[in-house]
């Protein structure tokens, strides 16, 4: 199987509470925060690797994984890290963050996917900076491909994937004929979430994503990485989502500590009047 994974780097989500917004509200300042791969895209990459191997013998690659990102040159760090983890090739679309919005990213990915002709396109369900949750669905529509969002499980079958989606109140299972687009949720990296056609259904993966070994990091420097201009893949488009202002959320103040259950119940009934 050939899998294309779309990746985005984001300001360190574990320290997202340290972003700064100047009083003018003109921008979100992420200075001082490390760039990290969007965690959901990290899970998508792990999913792609699992789908292109036999889980019992992950060293033998049984398919191809192409990683794609849009952004400035520094984003190649993200791509090289993905190549070190096991992806085979990388594509970067040269663009500034200011030029991009979800609609343009979807159009650019559509062009690249049409050229690359993967069997499956994977990405995170959303990037944890913009939190829009837009690109996967939009790419699927532009390609006229079936899709499954919020995937918690993927099993490869002949010419298809069976995907368990996390939806309100339960799990919805779809079977998608390939090629298709799948966006992944966090439980996709559980030990029994992803099975390629070759992986024994009794196989259990280690929880979470794999890490690159040092020799792989060295070898990744030699893996192919091509750069395409934005105009070539999303010609003539300019952004249509504009942010005029940002503001921090209202701060909640720490309340009071109560001594025991009796005091808590008394406060909830008498003061907050919520019970």
């Amino acid at each position: 199987m050939k899998v294309l994974v779309a990746l985005k780097r984001v300001a360190d989500p574990d320290n997202a509470n340290k972003i700064k917004i100047p009083p003018s509200g003109e921008k979100i300042d992420t200075a001082g925060l490390e760039w990290k791969l969007n965690p959901f895209d990290d899970y998508a990459l792990e999913t792609a690797l699992r789908l292109t191997e036999n889980g019992k013998n992950p060293k033998a690659r049984l398919g191809e994984v192409v990683v794609v990102t849009l952004g400035p040159k520094e984003c190649e760090t993200t791509l090289r890290a993905a190549l070190a983890t096991g992806a085979d090739r990388a594509i970067r679309v040269e663009a500034t963050d200011e030029e991009l919005d979800g609609r343009i990213v979807a159009a650019a990915l559509k062009t690249i996917i049409a050229e690359e002709k993967p069997d499956l396109v994977l990405m995170g369900k959303q990037a944890v900076d913009g939190d829009n949750n837009q690109v996967g669905q939009s790419v699927a529509e532009l390609l006229d491909w079936p899709m499954a969002t919020f995937a918690a499980t993927i099993t490869e079958e002949a010419g298809a994937v069976v995907v368990g989606r996390e939806v309100d109140g339960g799990v919805l299972t779809l079977k998608l004929g390939l090629p298709a687009v799948v966006t992944v949720d966090l439980r996709i990296v559980a030990p029994t979430s992803v099975y390629s056609a070759q992986t024994d259904r009794a196989h259990k993966y280690a929880e979470g994503v794999r890490f690159a070994a040092l020799p792989a990091i060295m070898a990744a420097k030699k893996k192919p990485l091509v750069v395409k201009p934005l105009a070539e893949v999303a010609g003539g488009m300019s952004r249509t989502a504009h942010y005029s202002k940002f503001e921090p959320p209202p701060q909640r103040k720490a309340g009071v500590k109560v001594q025991d259950v009796a005091e808590l119940v008394a406060k909830l009934a008498g003061e907050a009047k919520v019970i």
Partner: protein
Amino acid sequence: MADVLVIAELSDGKVRKTTLSAITFAREAAPLLGGGFSILVLGAGAKAAAAELTGFGAAKVYACDDPSLAQYTAEHFAPTAAAVGKSFGVVVATASSFGKDLLPRVAARLDAAYAGDCSAVSGEGGKLVYKRPMFAGNAFGYCTLSTPLQVVTVRQSEFAPAAPSGGASPVEDVAKAAPGAAAGRVQFVSLEQVKSARPELGDASVIVAGGRALKERFNELLEPLADTLGAAIGASRAACDAGYAPGDYQVGQTGKIVAPKLYFAIGISGAIQHIAGMKGSKTIVAINKDSEAPIFQLSDYGLVADLFQVVPELTAALKAKKAAG
């Protein structure tokens, strides 16, 4: 002048309560555009469900009642949603798993700009300005879209469910638009619904949420408390990951975003991603044995105590209070 189209959500042939939040958005946004709003109901049995929505002041309630729409898939729903939506200025649905799945697909089909999970709307110079949470709720952005047609989803917890306003909107049948190749390659296999007598997390006015600290006693401790309060049960990501709670209990940036009247965080330390999902709650109670837990920085009432002792005590105290009336 432009009108707003609300995409209704059905569950078992009935209108889901989520739809009422999108109607509230439409009631706020339409006057800002100098227009009105209509509603589109898609699904098998849409015609009957449409009758539930004729009393909300919509110009029209469109019903696309087609047996091939019995199970929701975006590939079958998007073409009709787009065909009806294209004569509107704004297409909206609530950001449930249905709305979040379908609407970006509709946006792409209409070449429309998209704003997801909006928490408020205002007008500026005849254009809509959407307030959106970003960076796990650590920032709000004010977003305008410059395509003639715009597609948005709105946060259920920020738009109160619309109440009927009387009147009788006419119901108009619409034919299902021809689906594309994508629809031929998607097959519904199953829906495993978690049937519960408790309210859904998105709808609940009281939520009892537990963390990993509850361990295997998660259900044993929280279920009686939730039942006493008529509450939904939520969980931190850590509790879900550890298998103490099912995945769909998860509250947080990566789970459900909730804003109940009363939220109990029990054994939840208060990781950023959890706080992003519940900090809109009106009253927050935190119970944790670690007095330094970050959750205490935003809770209205904090109790530093051993969960295994105080949760049953709390359940008993609330039961006694209820019995006393």
